[in-house]
């Protein structure tokens, strides 16, 4: 494959990014966190957040029946409120794509597959390619790839760039989400740099974390990534999606993320076309808060499906 950039060109491009003001970032976040949505706005926000979930199970112990159960949950979030939106996608390992695809065949819910030797990304490129192809052959609508953090931290930006570009080329019409695992990237400047790199290499979505390492989707990291998306949009008019994943387990935090994306990127991103939450336990908390809004009574986990 012909490299798109020489090492020098890529470095120049990455270095043109503005440095991240850490104090300013935290200040802005604390303002978002002090706000709270009430009444109809909250109800709307909860519905919106539900529709943006990539309902996820990524465990070594996943079985076909666990995945089928997840797919049923994705389609029927809470029987008492049949008019609730459905989640955006279910997110599984490549080996489970076929099972999920079959379980969701009569629905609009997409199947996302993690790929490229998720979660570590420590595999030869050939293996990563096969991993991706396997998921695509079984019908994955979206590919969530991890970057090679080791190469990135060693400064081999071209390697990471080419890898993303090559996977993107395999994807065809499937949308590509690129996972950074920001907990391993040390600083917000690094987060900004990898965001720019992934967007330049063809990512449709940029995603914070695998969910395997904490801290995952922290607000400063998300704000930094949203900044990269905004700058790219201002420059080129092309929209890039955002997916915070890991650690977003409460409705309150999810709503604050929505406030953040609305402030930074605007209304256009407030749809599951451009914004997703990678989460497993978030759905139930959103449902409990939704029911609380409807009935005025605090809810109990005992009345919601186990996930």
């Amino acid at each position: 494959m012909q490299p798109k950039y020489t090492p020098q060109e890529l470095l120049v491009r990455l270095k043109s990014a503005p440095p991240i003001d850490q104090i300013g970032t935290h200040e802005r976040i604390s303002k978002i966190q002090s706000r709270s949505l009430k009444g109809p706005a909250k109800l709307h926000g909860l519905r919106l957040a539900l529709s943006m979930i990539d309902l996820t199970t990524l465990e070594g112990k996943d079985t076909p029946s666990k995945v089928r159960q997840l797919c049923i949950k994705a389609q029927h979030l809470h029987g008492i409120n049949p008019d609730l939106p459905k989640v955006a996608a279910v997110c599984v390992y490549p080996t489970m794509v076929g099972v999920a695809k079959k379980a969701l065949e009569n629905s609009t819910i997409k199947v996302a597959a993690v790929s490229t030797a998720f979660p570590s990304g420590q595999a030869p490129f050939e293996v990563k390619k096969l991993d991706t192809l396997y998921a695509l052959e079984h019908g994955a609508d979206e590919i969530d790839m991890v970057i090679s953090r080791g190469h990135f931290l060693a400064g081999e930006y071209n390697y990471v760039f080419d890898e993303i570009a090559a996977i993107k080329a395999l994807c065809g019409s499937a949308r590509l989400k690129v996972i950074f695992e920001t907990a391993e990237l040390d600083s917000l400047d690094q987060v900004r740099r990898i965001s720019d790199l992934a967007i330049a290499a063809g990512a449709n979505f940029i995603k914070t974390s695998t969910g395997k390492i904490q801290p995952a989707a922290t607000f400063p990291v998300v704000l930094t990534m949203l900044g990269a998306i905004k700058d790219h949009f201002d420059k080129t008019g092309q929209m890039i999606g955002m997916k915070p994943a890991g650690g977003i387990s409460s409705a309150k935090i999810a709503l604050q993320h929505l406030l953040l994306v609305k402030e930074v990127l605007g209304e256009a991103w407030l749809t599951n076309e451009w914004y997703r939450f990678g989460a497993s336990s978030l759905a139930n908390d959103l449902l409990m808060q939704y029911q609380k809004q409807l009935t005025g009574k605090y809810q109990s986990a005992a009345y919601f499906s186990i996930d």
């Binding site: 009574k297 605090y298 809810q299 109990s300």
Partner: protein
């Protein structure tokens, strides 16, 4: 300079200010301000129920003997702080002998219920005769998270007499304490915090019963209510709100100084009975036996 102590809420093992930021003054019998207390809110109830739920399973899973030790420890800590409680009761208008008697009875009650921790199961379970080859037995299990309004007439003995039988039985509790006499309730929380009772097993809130009880009574994650005598309409509304998830409501109007008002049934008031059918083999064509 004398300063007024601010009594905080006790939620999840932490002394926290009310989320609402409000407070009220507690007055002595002669009308003097003696302390500030938190005027709790609905969200404090929410936080307390969350803490109680989190703590309940592991509290119930402790061995009965261990729960007994921990409750005995409450008595020991009360004993060392006897002076403080007597002083508070006197401030609230009790005579000195009456205050001493109330604190002493409270300590006795702790020791009494500590003794029950490994006995109530045996006395409230049974092996049941059934006409099929089954070993059929019934055992008590804690109901879970219990909401409580404590006695509004006494400051300490009522509080202790209502809380202890519930936690002996493996429940966790969210307590709305006596409004005007809240001093002892929060001092008791300080006792709990230093007596090995895991955080969240007992949560104590101060404030207006009328404001907080509807939220507690309607909360779907609260399994039962223990209500001391309160105004009729508050009690009735609470029982109505409790219907949605079929909370068991126990209403008490008792003189807790009377030692008749302690006993096994205050524990079993908040236990569910689980019955198990365990198949047994027909041995050598004989009649079913255990």
């Amino acid at each position: 300079m004398e300063i007024l102590k601010t009594y905080k809420l006790y939620i999840g093992g932490q002394f926290t200010r009310t989320e609402s930021g409000r407070s009220y003054q507690i007055q002595s019998a002669s009308g003097q301000a003696i302390a500030n207390a938190c005027l709790g809110s609905k969200k404090d109830i929410r936080n307390a129920v969350q803490a109680a739920r989190k703590a309940q399973a592991s509290w119930a899973a402790k061995s009965a003997f261990n729960r007994s030790q921990i409750i005995y420890r409450i008595a020991e800590m009360l004993e060392t702080r006897k002076g403080q409680f007597i002083e508070e009761l006197v401030l609230l208008g009790h005579s000195n002998p009456a205050a001493v008697a109330e604190v002493q009875s409270s300590i006795d009650r702790c020791i009494y219920y500590a003794g029950w921790a490994d006995k109530y199961q045996a006395l409230s379970s049974s092996v049941n005769p059934v006409s099929s080859p089954h070993f059929n037995f019934s055992v008590p299990e804690p109901m879970g998270v219990i909401g409580m309004v404590t006695c509004q007439e006494t400051a300490l003995i009522g509080l202790i007499s209502q809380i202890l039988p519930l936690i002996v039985g493996g429940n966790s509790v969210v307590v709305i304490a006596n409004t005007t006499k809240a001093l002892c309730a929060i001092s008791f929380a300080e006792v709990l915090a230093t007596s090995d009772v895991p955080g969240g097993v007992v949560n104590i809130l101060t404030g207006e019963v009328a404001e907080m009880l509807p939220t507690l009574a309607g909360h779907m994650d609260v399994n039962a209510l223990s209500l001391a005598k309160i105004e009729d309409h508050l009690s009735r509304n609470a029982q109505e709100a409790a219907v949605d998830n079929l909370k068991r409501c126990q209403l008490y109007n008792l003189d807790y100084f009377d030692s008749k008002n302690q006993g096994l049934h205050f524990i079993t008031d908040f236990q569910e009975i689980k019955t198990t059918w365990h198949p047994i083999e027909q041995i050598a064509g004989g009649a079913a036996g255990y």
